[in-house]
């Protein structure tokens, strides 16, 4: 991935900031931000915030993926289940999951469970929907092949339906992780007292802009690493899938 344009942007920014073409208060030079970044990482607090966010993300993702994949699969193979669950999915899917936060705050109190569950909710719906799509859009002739060659019931599911749906499941997990991160950081920004999102908020309020940008950059880096990493993992595991677009 070419780094020319980002590098050029950074250089431009550095110049404008140093020469006060833009206010260095609001747009500190990248080198300043970089310096603060390294300082804060060395001092440990940026690292601690990162760890907090990552931990929440891990829990949120697990809480979402573990029930979501089986549910999506079940909905795909059993029509009655799909008919029962579909209305709730359709209703909640277009709703901003951040709106669930105040409800969870009341029911579970202000704390980790409410934060994590809100993040999990974004991932949950995405994963269910992608998994369901994976089952529904599989090549139907593969079902014929399965049945003609002696695979029925559970065996048909294990050997044909599940592998056929796997690419879509993977994509759903990948998108879900991204969504969980976005929602979690937003939750931290709004309501938490720790984590990268909160850091951005706090430093914004205190106008300690270099620290704010440092935290911001870390969020961006985290998002990038996760999406690229998962994409690469998907290519590795699903070697038989020739096109991954993206």
């Amino acid at each position: 991935m070419s780094a020319v344009v980002p590098a050029a942007v950074l250089v431009l920014w550095e110049l404008c900031s140093r020469l006060a073409i833009v206010s260095p208060r609001y747009f500190p030079a990248p080198t300043t931000v970089g310096g603060v970044l390294t300082d804060r990482v060395a001092a440990g607090d940026l690292g601690a915030a990162l760890l907090v966010t990552l931990t929440r993300l891990a829990f949120a993702f697990a809480l979402a993926a573990v029930p979501a994949v089986p549910l999506g699969l079940l909905m795909g193979i059993a029509r009655p289940v799909r008919h029962v669950v579909e209305p709730y999915l359709a209703f909640i899917f277009p709703v901003p999951k951040i709106t669930l936060l105040p409800f969870l705050l009341i029911i579970l109190g202000v704390g980790e469970p409410a934060f994590v569950l809100t993040g999990a909710s974004s991932a949950f719906f995405q994963i269910v929907i992608s998994t369901l799509a994976g089952v529904q859009t599989m090549d139907p002739r593969l079902l014929d092949v399965g049945r003609n060659y002696g695979a029925h019931g559970l065996r048909l599911f294990r050997k044909v339906i599940l592998p056929a749906a796997l690419p879509a499941i993977f994509t759903g997990l990948r998108l879900g992780l991204g969504l969980a991160l976005v929602t979690l950081v937003a939750v931290e920004f709004i309501a938490a007292k720790s984590g990268l999102g909160h850091l951005v908020y706090r430093h914004w309020q205190m106008l300690s802009t270099p620290e704010m940008y440092a935290a911001f950059a870390l969020v961006g880096a985290l998002g990038l690493v996760l999406t690229r990493g998962l994409h690469a993992l998907q290519a590795r595991v699903l070697t038989w899938q020739e096109d991954l677009g993206g």
């Binding site: 991935m1 070419s2 780094a3 020319v4 344009v5 980002p6 942007v9 206010s23 609001y26 747009f27 009655p80 008919h83 029962v84 579909e86 209305p87 709730y88 359709a90 209703f91 909640i92 899917f93 277009p94 709703v95 901003p96 999951k97 951040i98 709106t99 105040p102 409800f103 705050l105 009341i106 029911i107 799509a133 994509t171 998108l175 991204g178 991160l181 976005v182 929602t183 950081v185 937003a186 920004f189 709004i190 999102g197 951005v200 914004w204 704010m212 911001f216 969020v219 961006g220 880096a221 998002g223 990038l224 996760l226 999406t227 690229r228 677009g245 993206g246």
Partner: protein, 260 residues
């Protein structure tokens, strides 16, 4: 009438299940099985919703939200489609901008609020600009994909039959990308709603997100549910409404999935 009957038998569970849920919720809340302070009765929620609607509070908060969605979506759509098309057509541009997009896209939109407040006058403009960011990237990304997935053979054939430059764009490239542009717009509109609400929670005094957060802070739970319901309704309207609209107004445009 018969059509309605047939539709109901097919979709019996789909309609019945939520109704059953609402009824059991009403009963559970009324009998104290569910704590009313967490889960007030749907009938109470409905009453509060009616009150909010009647005394104008609801509209007073819905209008600003709608306006912000309208502005941010328009901004995102115009810029997104324009730049998406440009990136689809010119490889250099795409290769140059791709890394920038890749870094910025995964960042939650609310985080851009500080940046926006530095760059544009604080207040409404900053809110609208912030809400446009993620939608912009989404729309640009799907538009670019829409252009690039056009069958090379179709383009070659068109060029062979004399379509160049502007004509090629207008008669082949744009129509070919249209299904994806539409999917991008539909997703982008949904995202506009999400970010507008999130941003309202953070820093607005009016708007559905603000109303939700305010109700939480003063612990008026019924108002919270009522507001949630309105937001959900809005979400459904935007999401499914646009899809239905496309089917009606532009029936030749097929519905394609999310290319991510």
């Amino acid at each position: 009438m018969k059509a309605l009957g047939r539709w109901l038998t097919e979709h019996g569970t789909t309609v019945g299940s939520p109704i059953a849920l609402l009824l059991s919720w009403e009963w559970a809340s009324a009998t104290g099985l569910l704590r009313a302070v967490f889960f007030p009765r749907p009938s109470t929620i409905l009453a509060h919703l009616r009150d909010l609607a009647l005394d104008g509070t609801l509209w007073g908060h819905t209008a600003p939200t709608l306006a912000r969605i309208g502005w941010s979506f328009s901004l995102a759509a115009v810029l997104g489609v324009a730049i998406g098309l440009a990136m689809g057509l010119w490889r250099r541009l795409r290769e140059g901008l791709d890394p920038v997009f890749a870094v910025i896209y995964p960042i939650p939109s609310v985080l851009f609020l500080p940046l926006a407040s530095f760059m544009v006058p604080a207040g409404e403009v900053a809110l609208v600009v912030t809400s446009a960011v993620t939608s912009f990237f989404l729309i640009a990304f799907t538009t670019t994909h829409g252009v690039r997935q056009i069958d090379r053979l179709v383009v070659e054939a068109a060029v062979h039959y004399g379509a160049r430059g502007w004509r090629l764009f207008a008669t082949v490239l744009l129509p070919g990308a249209l299904p994806f542009i539409f999917t991008g717009l539909r997703l982008g509109l949904g995202f506009s709603l999400i970010v507008v609400v999130a941003v309202e929670i953070v820093s607005a005094s009016r708007g559905l997100g603000a109303l939700l957060w305010l109700s939480w802070q003063i612990l008026k739970v019924e108002d919270m549910y009522a507001t949630f319901f309105v937001i959900a309704l809005l979400g459904a309207l935007l999401s499914y409404g646009l899809a239905a609209l496309r089917a009606r107004l532009l029936p030749w445009v097929p519905d394609v999935g999310d290319p991510r």
